[in-house]
Amino acid sequence: MASPTRALWLRLRNMPVLRMLQLEEAIFRTDTRSWFITNTWDAPPTSAGPERDAAHAAAQSVVLGISGKPAEMLNTEEVLKAGVPVIKRFSGGGTIISDADTLFATFICAADDEPQAHVPQVPPYPDPILDWTSSVYDAALRGCGATNFAVRANDYCFATEEGDFKFGGNAQSISGKRWLHHTSLLWDYEPARMGLLRMPKRQPAYRAQRSHGSFVRGLSQTLPSRDAFCASLAAAAGATWELTPVELEEAQAALSLPHRQVTRLLRPEEVC
């Protein structure tokens, strides 16, 4: 019987998004193994007030894709006034605004020279990668009782009678036969924060010109808890990889290895 394919499972808690992305980039570029990485924040207080604001303030950031232009994607004056850090990440795709109600999940797949970690049934091209990750998220949501998962124009959505509502955006980076796919998932969101994002010039047809607040939906409206979803996601990923939990230290060594570093924090003058 062939050995199972393996991946390392890194569960991050309350890690600032910039640091998380830098870590992912370092692992992607310098490590050869497969990884499954999640990052969740402690649930902020449910009642509005300074404690809730502080919890979100500690977690919030805007993350642009590698070629995202702040002036096109953001209401830059509001972003600067709100003091929200603006990060450029190493993968493509669109812009997100994250806070303490945003969950992050990342798959990094080894190339075929690591047979114990490589997933040969997922060729290193955008569509097959999205097909595979979609199957994982579909299984994860079914594990939590949600059966209306859909993919619309590369976005993860709930298909409802009222329309398709996005709950997760994703992006990829491919280098040879090694690939990375990461997703930001809305557990919940605040419409006011969404207002920092401009309506993108190019938008998918299913969005139908809806404002941000009108076409996204948090997972909290459907799923029991963040931890339950993360556990279900890990179980779904476990159908492909035997997951071995590791500590942060295992991953951090990648940061000190030489590699191309694209992820960075934009200076205020770059945001204007």
């Binding site: 894709g65 998962f149 040879g176 000190s256």
Partner: protein
């Protein structure tokens, strides 16, 4: 396995149904085989002419990409699998690498522009100087991820079918194996390939070897290097030596940070000599046995590593780190002994895990594996993490005493000098020839005092000078 495959295929089928509603892309490519690569098959061209490197088939339905970054410019020589550029397609960034060995003639797109699939990304002269056969691959190879170390390409790429044949070029009386691109690079910088230490397979001089000499870095050595900053090889003589600024990047940058942090630790230094004759005799006896068991070579290092573990068993508090608050000495149960290695990417310290529970043969095998991986640029994070004590064999390059810098978060390190025959007086007072190796210990003086260091050193030396005593611990 069958059950798992069945489980996999069901979700994929469901995913296809889930994605059925996606709007089609405006342009759809003709069906392409799954074994597609990122370049089209180039038209056969005369070896010396520039030929287009086509952008093709980054993914089904993708008709154009944005050029994000070029890693080459006109005039650059590239080897097979070197990074060429990074492009973006919808949500995926993709690194494209060269299937050819050659010289970049022109770039057809600017950064930020949109490149159409099926058009040339650049033009490349595939044949370098010398007109050697086999410069073109028989079939285009998929791009291969570059390993660590930007901006320089790293490690000799694994040869694929039809990979470039290395050809010999004479260097004095010695033929030097290298690729056309490497020879072209050396010729451009008036560098004699015969003066470059080869690290490629079969003794080939790689492009990386040449770049290291040109940048003033040391080539790969068989084992060990000082924990202090590596001494660069003298650069190849050039017609006019000029001042130049070398950016501190990569491993050197990491070393900069590491050494700066270590500088805050008060170092206690202790030095001594080791009579190596008995150990060298043991090595001779074991060498053939080790070869018979499949080990390529058997040096003194496995014996020294094992002796270090035995001495640490007697002085466990030297196998430790200090808690962040500085209130506890965290004694480690395993002896994960690091061996400093000079690699193409700089000084790295992989460690052999749990030496205390390994046989001498296992230590030798693991050391050999780490050295091979270091030379190939394939050390993994687990190899580099978790070390508890470091040995730095600067003697491999030469030298006697040294002042090694502690490899944080460890609290002690050894610098080993070169073993040399020297005249000494034996116990009877006769002048004899002995093989002597100097050892220089550094320890964190906040938690290690001179007496502990000296006693540890004596125990360690005892195992090396009387190797039979190691048998008592079996």
């Amino acid at each position: 396995m069958l059950r798992r495959l069945a489980a996999r295929s069901a979700p994929l089928a469901r995913a296809s149904a889930v994605r059925a509603a996606r709007p089609p892309h405006a342009l759809r490519l003709a069906a392409a085989p799954l074994s597609r690569s990122f370049v089209s098959t180039a038209a056969a061209a005369a070896p010396s002419s520039a030929q287009p490197f086509m952008l093709a088939d980054i993914g089904e339905g993708i008709a154009e990409v944005e050029v994000l970054q070029w890693f080459v410019k006109p005039g650059d020589t590239v080897d097979q699998f070197d990074r060429i550029c990074e492009v973006q397609s919808d949500k995926a960034t993709v690194e494209i690498s060269s299937p050819y060995v050659g010289t970049i003639e022109s770039l057809e797109y600017e950064v930020g522009s949109i490149a159409k699939v099926g058009t040339p990304l650049l033009h490349i002269s595939v044949d370098g100087a010398g007109g050697d056969a086999g410069a073109e691959p028989e079939q285009p190879a998929p791009p291969v991820a570059a390993a660590a170390a930007a901006p320089l390409p790293v490690s000799e790429p694994a040869p694929a079918a039809g990979a470039t044949a290395a050809a010999a070029s004479p260097a004095g009386d010695r033929k030097v194996l290298s690729t056309p691109a490497t020879r072209a690079l050396a010729k451009r910088h008036k560098l004699d390939l015969g003066t470059v230490t080869p690290t490629g397979r079969g003794g080939r001089v790689t492009k990386q070897d040449v770049l290291l000499v040109l940048n003033g870095s040391a080539p790969v050595q068989p084992a060990g290097a000082a924990a202090a900053a590596p001494q660069p090889q003298p650069a190849a003589p050039s017609a006019a030596a000029e001042d130049r600024a070398v950016p501190i990047r990569g491993i050197r940058k990491a070393m900069f940070a590491q050494m700066t942090a270590a500088n805050a630790v008060p170092h206690f230094n202790f030095c001594d000599e080791v009579r190596m004759d008995a150990l060298m005799e043991v090595r001779q006896q074991l060498k053939q046995v080790a070869l018979d068991k499949g080990l390529g070579k058997f040096t003194l290092m496995p014996l020294i590593v094992k002796a270090t573990s035995l001495a640490l068993a007697e002085f466990p508090e030297l196998n430790a780190s200090i808690s962040e608050a500085g209130s506890e000495l965290l004694v480690k149960g395993s002896h994960n002994i690091g061996v400093a290695m000079d690699t193409p990417h700089g000084l790295l310290v992989p460690n052999i895990k749990d030496v205390g529970s390994l046989t001498l043969l296992q230590v030798a095998q693991e050391l050999s594996r780490l050295q091979a991986d270091a030379a190939a640029g394939k050390l993994s994070i687990p190899d580099l993490k978790g070390g508890t004590f470091t040995l730095s064999n600067i003697g491999n390059l030469g030298g006697t005493y040294t002042g090694p810098v502690i490899n944080l978060p460890e609290i002690a390190i050894a610098g080993l000098g070169k073993t040399r025959p020297v005249p000494r007086y034996d116990e009877a007072g006769a002048l004899v020839r002995q093989s002597i190796m100097q050892v220089s210990w550094s320890a964190d003086h906040r938690v290690v005092d001179g007496a502990m260091m000296a006693r540890f050193s004596n125990a360690w030396i005892g195992y090396l000078e009387k190797p039979a005593t190691m048998l008592l611990t079996l």
